[in-house]
């Protein structure tokens, strides 16, 4: 029999044997955070920094630009080969310079990388040696090799603080020529530090809807941003598309909250009837702090 540690979420019962209702269950491995690093980058030369592991580790990436409170975004898939890469030595940073309203200059953004001990190119959960720190648990049948540790208290784990949905319900309306409308929604976490935020696999950035969805002619009435990157990436190259009404979406987070913004602008030369839109972002904000350097190796 394989030993197991399980703890139910508040108000839930382990006897239901529902993994969705358990906060920890050691039969399901939990990726272990071992390194967090930041690097400045630009669009000309990919910046590199070592991650300290001898193999290519699983990682999640964010980029910060220069709005007054700092706008943090999950690393977008972006354009050609844009530095969302990692190998068995380096993390690569490659992102266009961004405008800093404080200095009125275009400056290097900052990459934030969260590195897990788990390997990309081996289907194993690998864990560094604990340097004589306490170990709680090992995988059944493996008692000596540190790569088989399932719970390693000296590594960090993704611990959810809160989750929810940011929703924008945008009504249909007649928009006069050259007029614009802005809608926004936010969730204030007020942590006082920059937390790790999910979704991890989206295009967490600003974009022009008209550049996608068949050149903007087929924008859906409901847009779920969690999967927007995967929805858009197989389409032809995002490109400027002449339209009557331009629709922009921006979403980002900082040390105060998580923000979702929508703007539409009529440049058609005449009044346009703009359709209703519903925009949703399902989010999870973690207790983990993103804007800190960490080396648990």
């Amino acid at each position: 029999m394989v030993p197991n540690i399980r703890v139910a979420k508040p108000g839930k019962n382990l006897k239901d044997n529902n993994i969705e209702e358990e906060s920890i269950n050691t039969s399901h491995f939990m990726p272990k955070i071992v390194v967090q690093k930041q690097i400045a980058t630009d669009q000309n030369t990919p910046a590199t920094t070592t991650h300290g592991l001898s193999y290519s580790p699983v990682c999640i990436r964010y980029v910060r630009d220069y709005t007054p409170e700092g706008a943090y975004k999950i690393m977008p898939f972006g354009a050609i080969g844009m530095g969302n890469e990692i190998d068995n030595t380096y993390i690569y940073g490659y992102y266009g310079e961004v405008y800093n309203p404080n200095t009125e200059l275009y400056e290097q953004p900052i990459y934030y990388s969260v590195i897990f001990s788990d390997s990309i190119n081996n289907n194993k959960d690998e864990t560094p040696n604990g340097q004589n720190q306490p170990e709680l648990f090992v995988k059944s049948g493996q008692t000596t090799n540190p790569i088989y540790k399932l719970i390693v208290p000296y590594c960090d784990y993704l611990k959810a603080s809160t989750s929810g949905i940011l929703t924008l319900n945008i009504p249909s309306s007649n928009l006069n020529d050259s007029d614009s409308q802005e809608y926004s929604s936010s969730y204030l976490h007020n942590k006082g530090y920059i937390p790790i935020v999910a979704p991890f696999d989206t295009h967490f950035d600003s974009f022009l809807l008209n550049s996608y969805y068949e050149g903007g002619s087929n924008i859906p009435s409901t847009i779920i941003l969690n999967n927007i990157g995967s929805q858009l990436v197989e389409q032809t190259i995002p490109a400027y598309s002449a339209s009557d009404v331009y629709e922009y979406i921006t979403y980002y987070f900082n040390g105060i909250g998580l923000y979702l913004e929508y703007t539409r602008l009529n440049l058609s030369g005449e009044t346009q009837n703009c359709p209703a839109r519903t925009i949703k972002l399902y989010y999870t904000i973690f207790e983990n702090q993103l804007d800190e350097s960490l080396n648990l190796l």
Partner: protein
Amino acid sequence: MRPVIKVARRGYDIRTALPKNLTIDTSKNQFKVYDSGLEVFDLNAGNSYTYEKTITHPFSYTPTVIAFVSDVTESGGTFTASSSKFNSLPSYDGLGGFGYNPLTGVVIPGTGEVTIRVKEPYVAPVFGGGDYFDVEDVVLRYLVFVDKNFE
């Protein structure tokens, strides 16, 4: 009173540490992996330059997925998939006026399953695409979590 397991980071007192300084805290949901895997495949005309991996799951929502695909480089018209350098999904790699289609990687939600697709979508030459390319031993690594991404 509910049972809880908490571990503080080295140098912190479990009795006073802020939640961000706890490495384990079962009063919070810890993100857990439901399924993970490693796939190695070729892209060629025989599979229409497309590889799909479908992972079934028991959840009523789309779970969180983290996935990586090999970085592909070109030299003299020969394409090589790295076994040690990776892009995270969603990815869009290649192109840039070289006359070849890009290599994309996406996560597609479905009822009781998620599909990860790596393919070469056709892109017109005017946008820098054009020819499909053969590439061997492309690596796909994925982690599918218990925890929700969206509904």
